[in-house]
């Protein structure tokens, strides 16, 4: 019965989903939302049932690159996960995709000696190729839901040496949801606030200015925060040897800053800062 419901929601999902990849800045309008379906989807997502299914199968994405042997040393792997926004904004994993990483990867190649693939990769926690990508990026993790299996896979990925950067989630409600998911992964590890002298802020760039990096939408509304997340936080979960496994960018939107780096409306200093954070994260992940 649940599967039938899910299939219905999935196949009709476009009715209730608005993708950030839709060019909002080019005058696109939000799609009409079927409230009933969205409520149903939200209910299923929050109850965890939905996460047991492949709601947004990457196989349905013709643009998904699949490599067994990466043609370059570094691949920006974006995590495909189950999660929809409470406002019905569809699969949250693909927010800012693919411009965010393509912009960032170009900068990474230009600014460092990292041999980076120009295209990003997409990967699910259940994929066999998960462990070919020691770098993982997850966006809008305020909507992240994990099954027990996925939590175990993510835990194993991180314990083997994988690195997860999470970004673009705001406010106490989304934090609670993310913290709940992360608690599934590491019930016995605490999330800590990173100090400014941490290696991760100095591995390449010395980042002493921890300015809140806003998304495009709040910026248009004249603020740098959204969903009540006024104060940016750089947090992390470390392994037993004190190395950061999960870099948490809370109350900020680095993805938007990368994505809109070529857009005059978005302030360049935010993009520059977002690039620096990302470069440092990448270098840190490849050295620790």
């Amino acid at each position: 019965m649940v599967a039938v419901i899910l299939r219905y929601v999935t196949t009709k999902g476009s009715l209730c989903v608005s993708y950030d990849t839709e060019p909002l800045h080019s005058g696109g309008v939000l799609r009409t939302i079927s409230m009933n379906r969205c409520i149903l989807a939200l209910f299923l997502a929050l109850s965890g049932v939905a996460s047991a299914q492949t709601v947004t199968s990457p196989d349905t994405l013709s643009t998904k690159p699949l490599w067994f042997v990466n043609p370059h040393e570094f691949a920006f792997a974006r995590l495909i996960y189950n999660g929809v926004d409470s406002a019905g904004w569809g699969p949250r994993w693909r927010v800012d995709w693919p411009e965010a990483e393509t912009h960032l990867l170009a900068g990474l190649s230009r600014l460092t000696r990292v041999d980076a693939n120009k295209e990003g990769a997409l990967v699910q926690l259940s994929d066999d190729t998960l462990f070919d990508y020691p770098w993982l990026y997850a966006v809008e993790v305020g909507s992240l839901t994990l099954s027990e299996y996925e939590a175990a896979r993510l835990r194993e990925y991180l314990l083997r040496g994988g690195f997860l950067m999470v970004d673009d989630f705001h406010g106490p409600f989304q934090w609670d949801n993310f913290a709940y998911a992360l608690n599934q992964v590491f019930p016995d590890r605490r999330i800590e606030e990173l100090k400014r002298d941490d290696d991760i802020f100095h591995v390449l760039y010395d980042i002493d200015d921890h300015t809140q990096i806003p998304g495009l939408r709040p910026l248009r509304e004249g603020r740098t925060w959204e969903r009540g997340g006024n104060i940016p936080h750089w947090r992390a979960i470390r392994d037993d040897d004190n190395r950061i496994m999960v870099a948490i960018n809370f109350n900020m939107d680095l993805g938007d800053a990368w994505e809109h780096a070529d857009w005059p409306e978005y302030p360049q200093p935010y993009s520059a800062m977002a690039y620096r954070f990302a470069v440092n994260y990448v270098i840190y992940s490849m050295t620790h």
């Binding site: 040393e73 994988g162 591995v203 620790h288």
Partner: protein
């Protein structure tokens, strides 16, 4: 029989020479024989009608031989021999009185057998012609009036030293021979019984005295009921977390039904390693490799023990002790990487918990910026790869990652080459799209040091391609690639590892290269991990940068990636030359209190240093400390020696320190020295008493035969030792006279003459022409 036929012993004929004493010219003898032959020929020719020519020829030969024999008698053949002059020569009779001679078999000890042989078979006969001198030896030689009574057994036997001492003392005396009765178990410090060390001067000295030594082997050459650990080879020092392989040699009596021997290794009262070894059918020695885990720093007092069989009669030789010093210090390894890579990250993670390795890394993150980890201070290596010997030579090993050759200058390339060839360091080159031939390293002097031939390729040699690693036969024996002590399990563990995701090709291996791992590619197998010795050091090449997949593709609790890299870096770091090394003449001193300590010292540029002052702080087992000075060896630069008398049993600690001499004059006792030592090293040695004679129990006949052959004597056993007096009498040693022994009346001649005539008579009777 020989002596009955020929009148004289065989030894006389061996040593003597034939001649004629009549004084008649020899040509006359040949002429007479020829005339007789002609006369006999003519006489027989007349009978040609009665016998055919061939038959007549046979008769002619027989008659000529008989006549020739008779004619020869007139020339008076004699055997000229040198014989010792009675009473004017001496023979030294030596008896081994070491503890091993007390070993009994069938109710009789070895020394009882030896005394029986000497007193019953040799002494009286020798005394007719020689002045006899008697001595017993154990650790020391002791002269005695007779061998009727012998003193208490000694704890060591010094056959070699005793022989040389006797020969040296007898320089001015006419010594005809030495007779030594022993089981051949020499455990002296200078020379071991089972050693055939060609560098030893013992054999040259022994032969130089020109006195035959007759050895009487006492005891059985094979003792199937006894099992013994004959040797344990184990490194004296290692690093925390390392695995050291001990090579245990066990002598056994053979097994008829795949019997196994259990070898245990104790650290104190705890068993830390155990191995069952199947014994082959034939008696002999087997060699067993046992892995010893060097966990934490400190001294490990190890005891290797083979479980005794029910028939084993000597239990003391079933075990041996060794000391393994797990040093606090870490091997310093420099890793220079040209770009951020996953391999870099996972190598660092793998060795982070290695107690014996300190990894210093220089990572080029941008074209002009280096990120350094593991450094001592913020300024260290701020400008990248070292440019001076002092900086680079401080490391025990260097890893070069994905670095194009042009990023180092000419001086740095030569420095890296010299680091291997002169300093004795270890170099590990990793694969990468800017490494090896893709990075132009074939133009660097470093290419000479590498185990592979690198030439420019028409296409990139580095490929991102699947490659499956496999052990080679050399790899299955290497400490680097040992994931399990069991060979089959080890091979299986390697087979289970996931594929690498890249590989870099090269032309070929150099002749001295050894391959530990191969990579299976679609077009065949290629060397993956190879090494060779180059100059004073060694170089390694890992033709992939994708071992990180062994970490990411295997469960997080799997330690294979970590173990491989820890073992690789520990091993290459351990092969590097250290500024100071201590060598002692033995690993374990059994019933021997004299220790020879030798220290080799190098300066900061790793050149021999004879100008420093070297002292040793010695701590005895009861904690008493003393300081001794080591003397520079004028014949070997950088070598300092000292002798230590270690009387107490137990573990002795020797801390050797080298101090910089301000004026370079080490002989000046008022010399001002540097406050802190410029190099230090520590060595532990083990002293035990009362057990040396328990080892090497079977008679070492090979050693005794070699002594006899070297000196012109003979090897005897108890059953034929009664031939020794005759052998000595016929020898040319001592004061001798030339004696002509008449041969004409030898029974052999008469029997031969009669035989010839009888044969002729039989032939004539058969032919009917008597």
């Amino acid at each position: 029989m020989f002596e009955w036929l020929f009148k004289y012993p065989e030894t006389d004929f061996d040593a003597g020479s034939l001649s004629f004493e009549s004084g008649y010219p020899l040509w006359l003898l040949w002429t007479l024989i020829a005339i007789v032959a002609i006369i006999l020929g003519v006489s027989l020719w007349r009978q040609r009608r009665q016998l055919s020519a061939p038959k007549l020829s046979i008769l002619w030969v027989l008659q000529t031989a008989a006549a020739g024999l008779l004619v020869t008698m007139f020339w008076q053949p004699v055997l000229g021999v040198k014989t010792v002059r009675s009473g004017e020569n001496a023979v030294a009779v030596l008896l081994d009185n070491s503890a091993s001679m007390q070993y009994q078999h069938q109710g009789k000890s070895r020394i009882q057998n030896a005394l029986g042989t000497i007193n019953d078979d040799i002494s009286d006969s020798l005394a007719d012609n020689f002045t006899l001198s008697f001595a017993t030896f154990g650790e020391q030689l002791e002269w005695t009036q007779s061998l009727d009574t012998v003193g208490p057994p000694a704890n060591r036997s010094n056959i070699t030293g005793s022989l040389l001492e006797v020969l040296d003392q007898a320089r001015a005396q006419p010594l005809a021979a030495i007779v030594v009765a022993t089981d051949g178990s020499d455990n002296s410090q200078a020379f071991t019984a089972n050693s055939n060390n060609p560098e030893s001067s013992f054999w040259e000295q022994l032969a130089g005295f020109n006195v035959p030594v007759h050895t009487i082997g006492i005891g059985r050459e094979s003792m199937p009921e006894d099992m013994e650990i004959t040797d344990v080879e184990l490194a004296t020092t290692t690093l925390p977390g390392s695995v050291e392989q001990a090579t245990v040699t066990v002598r056994h009596g053979g097994s008829a039904s795949n019997q196994s021997a259990r070898i245990k290794v104790y650290a104190g009262d705890s068993i830390i390693a155990l191995q069952d070894q199947t014994l082959p059918a034939n008696a002999g020695e087997i060699t067993v490799g046992i892995d010893i885990d060097a966990t934490d720093a400190g001294l490990k007092e190890l005891r290797f023990e083979v479980e005794a069989a029910a028939s084993d009669t000597v239990l003391q030789n079933n075990s041996r002790s060794r000391l393994l010093q797990v040093e606090e210090k870490q091997r310093r390894i420099l890793y220079f990487e040209g770009e951020p890579r996953w391999e870099y990250k996972f190598i660092r993670r793998a060795v982070a918990k290695s107690k014996g390795v300190a990894l210093v890394t220089i990572l080029r993150t941008t074209p002009n910026k280096f990120y350094r980890q593991g450094i001592d201070n913020p300024e260290q290596h701020a400008n990248g790869f070292p440019v001076s010997k002092e900086e680079l030579y401080a490391y025990d090993a260097v890893i070069i990652g994905n670095v194009e050759a042009i990023s180092l200058n000419t001086t740095q390339h030569q420095l890296l080459h010299d680091y291997v060839s002169e300093r004795g360091g270890a170099l590990l080159m990793l694969a990468g799209n800017n490494a090896l031939s893709d990075g132009g390293w074939q133009n660097s002097p470093v290419a000479d040091a590498l185990p592979a031939v690198i030439t420019p390729q028409s296409r990139p040699a580095y490929e991102r391609i699947r490659a499956k690693a496999s052990l080679t036969s050399a790899g299955s024996l290497s400490a680097i690639t040992r994931l399990s002590p069991d060979p089959e399990t080890n091979s299986q563990l390697w087979q289970e590892l996931p594929e690498l995701a890249d590989f870099q090709r090269f032309d070929s291996l150099k002749p001295g290269a050894n391959t530990l791992l191969t990579a299976a590619l679609p077009d065949g197998n290629y060397p993956l991990l190879t090494y060779q010795h180059y100059g004073n050091g060694s170089s390694y090449l890992l033709a992939s940068s994708g071992t990180w997949r062994w970490q990411m593709q295997m469960p997080s609790e799997d330690q294979r990636h970590e173990i491989f890299w820890q073992q690789l870096l520990q091993t290459i770091g351990a092969t590097a030359t250290e500024r100071m090394t201590i060598v002692t003449d033995q690993q374990s001193y059994l019933d021997n209190s004299s220790l020879q300590i030798s220290a080799n010292l190098l300066n900061a540029e790793f050149e021999s240093d004879s100008t420093s002052v070297v002292t040793a702080n010695v701590t005895s087992p009861d904690g008493t400390q003393q300081t001794i000075a080591l003397t520079p060896n004028p014949e070997n630069a950088g070598e300092f020696n000292a002798t230590l008398e270690a009387t107490d049993t137990g573990s002795w600690q020797i801390d050797v320190n080298a101090y910089e001499s301000q004026s370079g004059n080490t002989a000046d006792s008022e010399e001002t020295l540097s406050d802190s030592p410029i190099a230090t090293a520590t060595r532990w040695i083990n002293r035990e008493d009362g057990i040396a004679e328990s080892y090497g129990l079977p008679q070492n006949a090979a050693f005794l035969k070699r002594i006899a052959n070297t000196t012109g004597g003979q090897y005897w056993t108890g059953s034929n030792a009664d031939g020794i007096p005759a052998a000595i009498r016929s020898a040319r040693n001592g004061i001798v006279r030339l004696q002509s022994l008449p041969l004409w009346n030898m029974p052999f001649f008469f029997i031969l003459l009669l035989g010839i005539k009888l044969f002729e008579w039989v032939l004539r009777m058969l032919w009917g022409k008597l």
